[in-house]
């Protein structure tokens, strides 16, 4: 698997898309910092970007890479290489190069700006970690979708739909159920609903870290109490890891029974 990862990674490192992605983050970081000149404000703006764009880019890039490397895959399939290694290798190649673009692209301007001497370092680190996690999650989901759809257009469609669902529609349903059941205690429900969607989970984790928690009122206090404990942190990490590993297991399973 490591060999495949290596080649996928090399392949991506040369494709201009990784550079576009990397430069985009670099530019974003620079613009945010030097136009805003306020570190914690920049971190908040960045959060909005990370929560929406990172999943979208992860999804599209994952699907695109899968379809574009179909030939590569077929070449590999005839070689003495384990099937799951091929796909997991490719997956990690894409996911890691995306995550690296994100972390380095955003990290450089912030390091340059002096994040290490700032008290926003914790928030910033959390931002990058959740960003990396979202990349891993959505690239994995993209691979699952691409593996189950040989039709490129369909695959892209489903991938966008998935992103749309988790980034937008889910919150709409969430909001509607909160308003609809407003007479009932909703803390547990909100907690569970947040945990189930990786985008919401990341958003809330970052929000709570960013001192906006006071805005969140009573619900926020409940969340703070939950996510503030070790148990909460472990549970949310477990959720994020599950969100990576379940698609990965699916990739393995689908790859092993698929015809090429």
């Amino acid at each position: 698997m490591l060999k495949i990862l290596k080649y996928s990674f090399y392949d991506l490192m040369r494709s201009r898309w990784s550079y576009v992605y990397f430069l985009f983050y670099l530019l974003l970081g620079l613009v945010l910092l030097f136009l805003n000149n306020d570190l914690s404000k920049a971190v908040i703006t960045l959060m909005n970007v990370i929560i929406i764009l990172v999943p979208l880019i992860g999804t599209i890039f994952g699907v695109m890479y899968y379809y574009n490397s179909k030939e590569f895959t077929e070449l590999l399939l005839a070689q003495p290489v384990k099937r799951s290694s091929i796909f997991l290798g490719q997956y990690f190649g894409v996911a890691l190069s995306l995550a690296m673009s994100l972390v380095i692209g955003l990290g450089l301007p912030f390091i340059f700006y002096g994040i290490f001497n700032s008290n926003a370092i914790g928030n910033f680190a959390l931002l990058l970690i959740t960003g990396a996690f979202l990349t891993l999650i959505f690239t994995a989901l993209a691979f699952v979708i691409a593996l189950t759809n040989d039709n490129k257009i369909k695959g892209f469609g489903y991938a966008i739909l998935l992103w749309l669902f988790l980034a937008v529609i889910y919150d709409g349903l969430f909001l509607m159920s909160l308003v609809f059941f407003e007479d009932y205690p909703l803390d547990k429900f909100s907690l569970v609903a947040t945990m189930l969607n990786p985008i919401d989970l990341s958003r809330v984790l970052i929000l709570l870290k960013m001192d906006i928690s006071a805005l969140l009122g009573y619900t926020g206090a409940v969340f703070q109490k939950f996510f503030g404990t070790n148990q909460g942190i472990i549970l949310s990490s477990v959720m994020l890891i599950l969100w990576v590993s379940i698609p990965l297991i699916s990739i393995r399973r689908i790859a092993n029974s698929k015809d090429f």
Binding site: E71, L75, L76, A78, Q79, P80, D259
Partner: protein
Amino acid sequence: MISIENLHKKFGKNQVLEGIDLEIEPGGIFAVLGPNGSGKTTLIKSILGMVIPNSGSIKLNGKSVKNDWKYRNNIDYLPQIANFPGNLTVRELIRMIKDLRSYKKAEDERLIELFKLEAFLDKKLSNLSGGTKQKVNLVLTFMFDSPLIILDEPTTGLDPISHLRLKELITQEKQKGKTILITSHIMSFVEEVADEIVFLLEGKIYFKGGIPALKAKTEQPDFEHAIASILTTSYA
């Protein structure tokens, strides 16, 4: 060498292989023929493990290929469409494939010379013409010394000289005692190189045997007509 028993494969509602029983003995060139959609490529891909059969078994030297991948070390495969990752150069691709089969010695340099590919070594694969890609494809296939070689439409896009070289190459390999499986649409090519014909029709083996036997069976004087007569009688 290869023994296939009762092989079935369905793609959706489309039954492609309907109970293939095939025994391929070591040594010699076997041509797998049949009309479009008869299941040639599916059969080959099943042997390679790229297509997973619904039922039946494939054994290579007595060992089942199911859930195994190491056996592919003993197969050299030339895919039908020569598509490669576009970002790599020819040299990198060759190095990569060698890397994936690390313990095999390869004679890539001789083949590069043979197909005059030296000038293209540092070009990206996405910039190569179809014929050049096919040559690279051939180098990748023949550079290892495996006992089984599978060639899916090897002549596609080749210029006459390369075509000749390919034929020489196939003959050489045969003389080393290897088993070679070929699919092709070019009947003259098949007639020239094949020792035995495996004719697939509607997912079943319609005929297996030497060219003279085929001629005798169809009562046709030459090979091309023999094939044509199978098709006309079966579709009549």
